[in-house]
């Protein structure tokens, strides 16, 4: 049993390794030049050379992404809370938010640079805005989708609004919010990187642009590797939380 599960865990890695091998051997045979598609070995070498640059870029991008994400989490849940408890706001807030969400936020990114400058603020705000909507929508569902019987039962047992909120609504919303985080995390990252593309002089987005200007394709790829590792770790953390803390969910049950 242990052997097969180990194999199951290694299978994606083995697949990736064989893909990289085919790339390393196949690209020269097909005559693809290195400035178009650098070899994995060249990317790895460039990655090692620029390790401190990568780390600094990752720190800047990771920071703006995570701050934006945390802000989106706080405001998304608060906004959902207000809409759940003040139903009249639902008819006001929902159409406005839907309209706002239909604006491609990347198209208004230059505006944020004008308003908030070239520093981290514009990146954080972009990350925040991209992550906000999925978190709000899922929180709204999680806080609101409670059987009427549960609310009646809680009320008859003496439950105040606050106790019902913390012990019923919020607990019910946790899996909806973790699901939303898995979508919102990469979106926040898009916000940060687009912000770095438009202005500023730090972060992975800046590193990618720098690589492009200098036709340094291996550097562009190395930066992409950094960002992929970061996203995978972030989503992995959310999944780990789900597996350990949300064992009661149908999808996490082990019988």
């Amino acid at each position: 049993m242990a052997e097969t599960s180990l194999l199951a865990r290694l299978r994606p890695l083995l697949f990736l390794a064989s893909l990289l091998l085919a790339w390393e051997v196949g690209a020269p045979l097909l005559g693809i030049p290195g400035y178009v598609l650098p070899l994995p070995s060249a990317i790895a070498a460039r990655f090692a050379e620029t390790a401190s640059l990568q780390l600094h870029g990752l720190f800047m991008t990771g920071m703006t992404t995570l701050i934006g994400l945390v802000l989106a989490l706080v405001f998304g849940v608060l906004l959902a809370l207000v809409v759940v408890y003040v139903p009249v706001l639902r008819s006001i807030v929902m159409p406005l938010l839907a309209a706002f969400n239909s604006i491609p936020k990347i198209a208004v990114a230059p505006l944020f640079v004008i308003w908030f400058g070239l520093g981290v603020e514009s990146k954080i705000i972009l990350a925040f805005l991209l992550a906000l909507f999925p978190i709000f929508v899922n929180s709204l569902t999680g806080l609101g989708e409670i059987e009427a019987d549960v609310i009646d039962l809680s009320t008859l047992a003496g439950g105040t609004r606050w106790r019902i909120f913390t012990k019923v609504r919020l607990m019910n919303a946790v899996p909806y919010i973790t699901d939303a985080l898995k979508v919102a995390f990469p979106l926040a990252l898009v916000g940060s990187i687009v912000g770095e593309f438009i202005g500023g002089n730090s972060g992975i987005g800046h590193l990618i642009l720098f690589g492009q200007f200098n036709m340094d394709t291996p550097l562009v790829f190395a930066a992409l590797v950094s960002i992929t590792v970061f996203t995978t770790l972030g989503i992995g953390a959310v999944s780990l939380f789900e597996r350990t803390a949300l064992t009661w969910r149908p999808s996490q049950r082990r019988r």
Binding site: V150, D152, L153, S154, L156, A157, G158, G159, R163, R249
Partner: protein, 252 residues
């Protein structure tokens, strides 16, 4: 015996439909009262009005001498579905009502475990609801309703979703739990046998509009066993309840 709940000349209309027509009955303290009747006779609505969850159109309800005008704050409720929170353990679900009441859950853990033992749930304290059978989930819901010894326990067809064999066992399990606590219970069912087996008083209702047709005092000795089901007096009580229901149906 003092009176716990008084339902006095209560009517309820939904739009132009008369759901309950001038219902009057009372529930003595520490007694088990059933409302029995076919679907659509307004018995569940009556229960929700008694809890203060729904307003009556006219008439009044009093609990321990106080008029009920909004949700009562110490009522135990059992629904047709168990309504257990999936993220809590069985013990955690039973203690949930203590937390809702602003009490320290730890103070009630002993009583929760005693109730669980009586309900045959020992060993499942840390199980999640999805690991329990339907009957076990409903027994946990009954333990939860009894935990705080509320002034009134309302049960809305609690065994309605269970199979017949489980249902009969649940009736006896409920009797065991009730004899331990002697809480005042108002129990809604459409099973005549269940009503007669469990109750001190059976209120018989008929539908469209919901009216009370008969109030039957069941003075059979407790604890009632499966043998009691064959007792001629039990059979006579069941027949009288059935007559009440049938009379109500042919009248209109």
């Amino acid at each position: 015996m003092s009176t716990s709940l008084v339902v006095d000349n209560l009517s309820k209309t939904f739009g132009s439909t008369l759901a309950i027509d001038q219902a009057s009955f009372s529930v003595p303290e520490n007694s088990f009262v059933s409302i029995v009747g076919p679907s659509g006779c307004g018995k569940s609505t009556l229960l929700r009005i008694a809890a203060g969850l729904v307003r009556a159109s006219s008439g009044r309800i009093e609990l321990r001498g106080q008029e009920v005008t909004g949700p009562i704050r110490d009522v135990g409720m059992v629904f047709q579905s168990p309504v257990l929170l999936p993220w809590r353990t069985t013990l955690g679900n039973i203690l949930f009502v203590a937390e809702m009441g602003g009490l320290r859950a730890a103070d009630y853990e002993g009583r929760a475990r005693e109730l669980m033992a009586l309900a045959g749930l020992s060993g499942f304290e840390d199980s999640r609801p999805f690991e329990l059978s339907g009957g076990m989930q409903q027994r946990a819901a009954i333990c939860r309703a009894m935990l705080l010894k509320p002034s009134l326990i309302l049960m809305d067809e609690p065994f309605g979703a269970l199979d017949v064999i489980t249902r009969e066992r649940m009736g006896f399990a409920l009797q065991t739990l009730w004899e331990e606590s002697r809480n005042t219970v108002l129990f809604v069912t459409h099973s005549i046998t269940e009503a007669v087996l469990l109750s001190d008083i059976v209120v018989v209702m008929s539908p469209r509009p919901g009216r009370i047709h008969d109030i039957v005092e069941i003075d059979l000795p407790r604890s009632r066993t499966t043998a009691a089901l064959r007792d001629p007096r039990f059979v006579a009580f069941a027949a009288r309840v059935r007559e009440g229901i049938e009379a109500g149906e042919t009248e209109y």
